[in-house]
């Protein structure tokens, strides 16, 4: 059996374990914890969206929350108007993806450098924050849905069974949907990265000039990566809105934008599982800190970010992979030496 076979087998086993974990979780933990994990899973999807466009497309978006927030608001407005969440979920993905298409078109086809791309995405998030923040009052409504300005939109209708508005999901079912969506997004991104499109996207991240000289269009590929990332962030926003049945302009805030970047940095840029692990670990940590008064959570987040940037630049998952690889090489060398000395002993006899 070759190394790649082994790796595939390990991946399949990990996937099966993840599906099993989602399936049995409700029996194992209290409902309060389950809702907490539902939130983590929704945020992990958001982390995946940045992990994908940054780690594999080389696009550092400081404003992934723009798409996250748009997804949440699109869901809320559509669900209130339709009275059925089926179409609302689709819109929660399509609206942010469409917005990413327009924004990305101007950024990539306008040949904007990477630094300005960060600035623009950051600014767009702030603009959306201010825009939505100033929609308080009854005159700001889309159909039956009042946007509510800084008060946000309370009591958003929850997810229902597809096409059946009378069957609204309970928290346990919402966990299955959110955890399932996380696994599904992860698997789809894995498949996308193994496809021609994904391999070309990585090549463009590595060397844009070379990719263009081989006949690949860097602008179109980057735009496609950005749109996929926007759609995934929108889905995360939809699930987040469902978790709390509430959405407010703080969803566009800088604090969250910065936190996603910390999740990806801590977990490991250039991997898919890294951002998920980083997101869950840090959210768990922040939640624990929130239960006691000794430390300020922002202070701790800042220290973690600095520690990782200075000491563990690659992040948790790539560092673990490096260590694992070294350990295997060491064991192999040991085994080789033992075999050699055994051979020498035999010859001596």
């Amino acid at each position: 059996m070759t190394g790649s076979h082994l790796a595939k087998l390990a991946q399949a086993a990990a996937l099966a374990a993840a599906i099993a974990a989602v399936a049995v979780m409700p029996q194992e933990v209290e409902i309060f914890d389950l809702m907490q994990y539902t939130l983590f899973a929704a945020m992990a999807i958001l982390a995946l969206s940045l992990g994908f466009i940054w780690g594999f497309g080389g696009i550092l978006s400081f404003g992934q929350t723009a798409f996250f927030g748009l997804g949440a608001y699109a869901y809320a407005v559509a669900a209130i108007n339709f009275g059925d969440s089926t179409g609302a979920v689709a819109l929660a993905v399509l609206v942010p993806a469409g917005f990413a298409l327009v924004l990305g078109y101007f950024m990539f086809y306008g040949r904007i450098s990477d630094v300005y791309l960060g600035v623009i995405t950051l600014t767009v998030t702030l603009i959306l924050f201010n825009l939505v923040n100033s929609t308080a009052g009854d005159e700001y409504r889309i159909g039956a849905a009042a946007l509510g300005g800084f008060n946000g939109m309370p009591s958003i209708p929850g997810l229902n069974a597809p096409g059946n508005p009378d069957y609204v999901l309970d928290p346990e079912e919402l966990w299955f949907v959110t955890g399932g969506a996380l696994i599904l997004v992860y698997v789809l991104l894995r498949l996308l990265l193994a496809s021609r499109f994904g391999r070309v996207a990585v090549a463009i991240r590595e060397n844009e000039t070379r990719a263009a000289l081989l006949g690949y269009d860097p602008r179109l590929t980057k735009l496609a990566v950005f749109v996929v990332g926007g759609g995934i962030a929108g889905l995360a926003g939809c699930l987040y809105a469902n978790w709390g049945a509430f959405v407010s302009p703080t969803i566009f805030s800088l604090a969250l934008s910065a936190e996603i970047i910390i999740w990806v940095t801590v977990g490991g840029l250039g991997t898919l599982i890294g951002p998920v692990i980083g997101c869950v670990l840090i959210q768990y940590l922040v939640a624990q800190i929130g239960t006691q008064q000794a430390f300020n959570s922002n202070l701790v987040l800042g220290v973690i970010l600095i520690a990782f940037v200075l000491l563990l630049r690659k992040g948790l998952v790539p560092t673990a992979q490096d260590l694992g690889g070294r350990l295997i090489a060491l064991l192999r060398r040991r085994a080789g030496r033992t075999a050699e000395s055994l051979g020498a002993l035999k010859e001596a006899e």
């Binding site: 021609r196 391999r199 070309v200 990585v202 090549a203 590595e206 060397n207 000039t209 070379r210 990719a211 263009a212 000289l213 081989l214 006949g215 690949y216 269009d217 860097p218």
Partner: protein, 242 residues
């Protein structure tokens, strides 16, 4: 009788950077399946000429025709899709990817998935890196990385291949192999090769074009060019009465 359309033809091709004219009114014609060498001292405009041919720079004036089709000012990926491949002067490879992945990316755009696998294996044999197929390109020697780049270019099977200093930084054996590879490619494809190494030029060239200060100084058979006192003077930095 009508003259056949040349594979590549430039007319009065000019590139100005501010007040500096890097390439000045170059008329250049290349026949199908021709192998041409381009020589000239540093700063003669060879690499700038290549950058215009591949769309990395838009010419200030003049035309570029590829099989009778104007391509001046088109994007690099558009020109590449017409069948122009280039190995640039500074190795331009995917350093963070394996040798096989580099070649795969070259091959996949023009071949079906099934054919791609076969092409990748063929190219790996040709550039003698089959044993290092899984190695990251960034870990290879300079000469080997040059080969990887040539490999990604030929994997796409372009009609015209431009090689900017393909033998730079190679050992003697590697240079010999590269010359062999170029002759092999030339059996079916046209090439333009920029090189400083005169021994290498003698190994591969028939016709040589000499660039000097952005203009074509002369264009003749290899022996005639290398015998010409003006060419020697240009390389020694003397003033040439052209």
């Amino acid at each position: 009788m009508t003259t056949p359309v040349p594979l590549l033809e430039t007319q009065a091709l000019t590139m100005r950077f501010g007040g500096v004219t890097a390439v000045s009114e170059v008329d250049f014609t290349l026949r199908e399946a021709e192998l041409r060498c381009l020589i000239g001292p540093n700063g003669a405009g060879k690499s700038t000429f290549f950058k215009m041919l591949t769309g990395q720079l838009a010419p200030s004036a003049g035309t570029i025709m590829f099989r009778g089709r104007p391509v001046a000012g088109a994007s690099p990926h558009e020109i590449a899709r017409l069948g122009v491949g280039i190995k640039t002067q500074v190795p331009n490879v995917f350093n963070g990817l394996s040798v096989r992945e580099n070649i795969w990316l070259g091959a996949r755009r023009t071949h079906t998935p099934l054919r791609t696998a076969a092409v990748v294996d063929e190219v790996l044999e040709k550039i003698r890196l089959a044993a290092q197929a899984r190695t990251l390109v960034g870990q290879l020697s300079h000469g080997q990385r040059q080969w990887v780049e040539i490999g990604t270019v030929i994997a796409a099977d372009p009609e015209l291949i431009l090689l900017d200093e393909p033998a730079a930084g190679m050992t003697h054996d590697e240079v010999l192999r590269t010359a062999e590879l170029i002759r092999e490619i030339n059996q079916s494809r046209a090439l333009v090769v920029v090189e400083h190494d005169m021994q290498f030029i003698r190994m591969i060239a028939r016709t040589v074009t000499v660039f000097h200060q952005g203009r074509v100084l002369m264009e003749d058979a290899v022996d005639a060019v290398l015998r010409d006192p003006r060419v020697r003077d240009v390389y020694l930095g003397k003033k040439v009465a052209a």
